[in-house]
């Protein structure tokens, strides 16, 4: 069952200005579940035919880029420079919308495995490189408390796994 919506990601990004992106597992997001059954949430504007890239319109009109990866993750970013307004698509086939979301959900569930703790929602904030030449960047691993609707820094035993699954280094280079 989805325990997050994109507004929860927006709140987290706005509260932590050192970071520009937040990545979570796709199966935790309500909007991904909607897309899987062919429903396009009102705040999302699709930017491609694959149903992977979107623009998200926040409460105060601020826009964010939103991407679903078939590897099982969903990413919200403050930088929308590579998402020009003109490329927004006005209409899309339901099947196309659902295909990527469906693959993302399936892979997210597979990554977590059968023994996943119910209610455990994790995410990772991504920021700038440590310095100009650095190949490493600032991040912050997080846990979401769905009861209190609050994100908090997480340094438990899943940190290494989260970093590998949510922000694989090979995929970024």
């Amino acid at each position: 069952m989805s325990q997050l919506n994109i507004n929860d990601l927006v709140i987290c990004l706005n509260a932590r200005s050192s970071y520009s992106e937040l990545v979570v597992f796709a199966d935790d997001l309500e909007e991904v579940a909607q897309l899987r059954i062919g429903e396009l949430p009102l705040d999302l504007t699709p930017l491609d035919h694959a149903g992977q890239r979107f623009t998200f319109q926040g409460d105060r009109g601020k826009r964010y880029s939103f991407e679903i990866s078939e590897t099982g993750t969903a990413r919200l970013a403050t930088d929308i420079s590579n998402h020009p307004q003109s490329s927004a698509m006005k209409a899309m086939q339901d099947e196309a919308l659902g295909a990527s979301a469906s693959a993302a959900l399936r892979n997210a569930v597979a990554k977590k495995g059968g023994g996943w703790a119910p209610g455990l929602v994790l995410g990772i904030l991504l920021g700038d490189a440590l310095d100009e030449d650095s190949e490493s960047r600032r991040v912050l691993t997080l846990r979401f408390d769905s009861t209190k609707k609050r994100w908090s820094a997480y340094d438990g035993g899943l940190v290494g796994w989260m970093k590998r699954e949510l922000a694989p280094v090979d995929a970024e280079s």
Partner: protein
């Protein structure tokens, strides 16, 4: 009126019967010595893990038969005119006369870590107020020994004042020390049959050879971290990488530092550590910040705490959020992080 015979109250050598009485008293109180050793074992394991020093930690109380042998040996070498060991003294405080009734053994994986482990013990545990509380063996047997006292910091009032002997040795030295002593090591090896003496010699050389092989293995692992793309996988890697950067051993809670840095840097590699800045400079800055926070007493000899404080300008809010979620008893590094304020 009867008058005491001259010299009746003068100290005299302990008799065999008195030794049996003392051993009997010890047998009755043995559970307390077992417990003291066990309490120290748990604390040692926690501290060594935090310091990222790989070890095996064992503990036990001395067997009553060993106590008897020890007392007989001491009596044999005692001065009958002015004996050190008397029944009165043993009855008053057995633990201060025989300081190894409770024992803990720290067996380090890597010979090079023996010194670091021993220094950590001297820094984090109170030494007993007895003659020669520290001893190093460098001849045939190799290892270090400290006599630690269970004080109020252990939160065990019933054990307060107990002395625990802590021995530190590498795995191979431990094997030689134990087997050599058990089979019959003595300084005059001629007393043993030739084949026993040869066997003990072989064991000693084998132990030295193993130490050298393990040392080479460790060095190979350490030099891997010269490559900036190499991941820092655990607190031990972190300690090695930082020690390489500064050129000497470092102290402190590497387990917590690893948790902090692994949470805020991706990928966490040897190169990422270098990107944070020269470790030596950061350590110097950290000492100044620790002094400013009034942590000079604890911060001055805690490299990890100082290094962490020097990173607070970059990661202060994140570290404070993480530290505030740490469970368990409070500690120096948590206090320092939570007490830090942005200048």
């Amino acid at each position: 009126m009867l008058r005491p015979v001259d010299g009746a109250n003068a100290p005299r050598l302990i008799t065999q019967g008195e030794i049996e009485v003392v051993v009997g008293h010890y047998r009755e109180a043995m559970a307390r010595y077992e417990e003291a050793a066990s309490v120290l074992e748990h604390r040692l394991r926690r501290e060594l893990r935090a310091a990222a020093i790989k070890t095996l930690v064992l503990s036990r109380a001395k067997h009553p038969d060993e106590v008897r042998l020890d007392l007989e040996y001491q009596r044999a070498s005692d001065d009958p005119a002015e004996p050190e060991l008397t029944y009165t003294k043993l009855n008053a405080d057995l633990n201060r006369s025989i300081t190894d009734l409770s024992r803990a053994t720290v067996i380090v994986y890597h010979p090079i870590d023996e010194q670091a482990a021993f220094e950590m013990i001297l820094r984090r545990f109170p030494l007993a107020d007895v003659p020669n509380p520290i001893e190093h063996q460098e001849d045939r047997q190799r290892g270090s020994r400290a006599l630690v006292e269970i004080d109020e910091s252990f939160d065990r009032p019933s054990l307060r004042g107990s002395i625990v002997e802590v021995k530190v040795a590498s795995i191979s030295s431990h094997i030689f020390n134990e087997l050599g002593a058990d089979i019959g090591y003595s300084p005059t090896a001629e007393e043993h049959p030739e084949n026993v003496a040869e066997g003990i010699e072989d064991l000693m050389y084998l132990s030295r050879l193993t130490d050298r092989a393990v040392h080479r293995l460790l060095e190979a692992r350490r030099t891997r971290l010269f490559d900036p793309t190499e991941p820092v996988n655990d607190p031990v890697d972190l300690r090695h990488a930082l020690e390489q950067m500064v050129g000497h051993t470092l102290t402190g809670d590497f387990q917590r530092l690893f948790r902090l840095l692994d949470t805020v840097i991706h990928p966490f590699t040897a190169g990422a550590l270098a990107d944070l800045g020269p470790a030596e400079t950061l350590l110097e800055q950290g000492v100044q910040i620790a002094t400013g926070l009034g942590l000079h007493e604890t911060g001055g000899d805690d490299d990890v705490l100082c290094y962490t404080l020097s990173l607070m300008d970059s990661f202060g809010p994140e570290f404070q959020e993480l530290a505030s979620n740490w469970r368990g008893p409070t500690n120096d590094i948590k206090n320092a992080i939570l007490g830090w304020k942005k200048a």
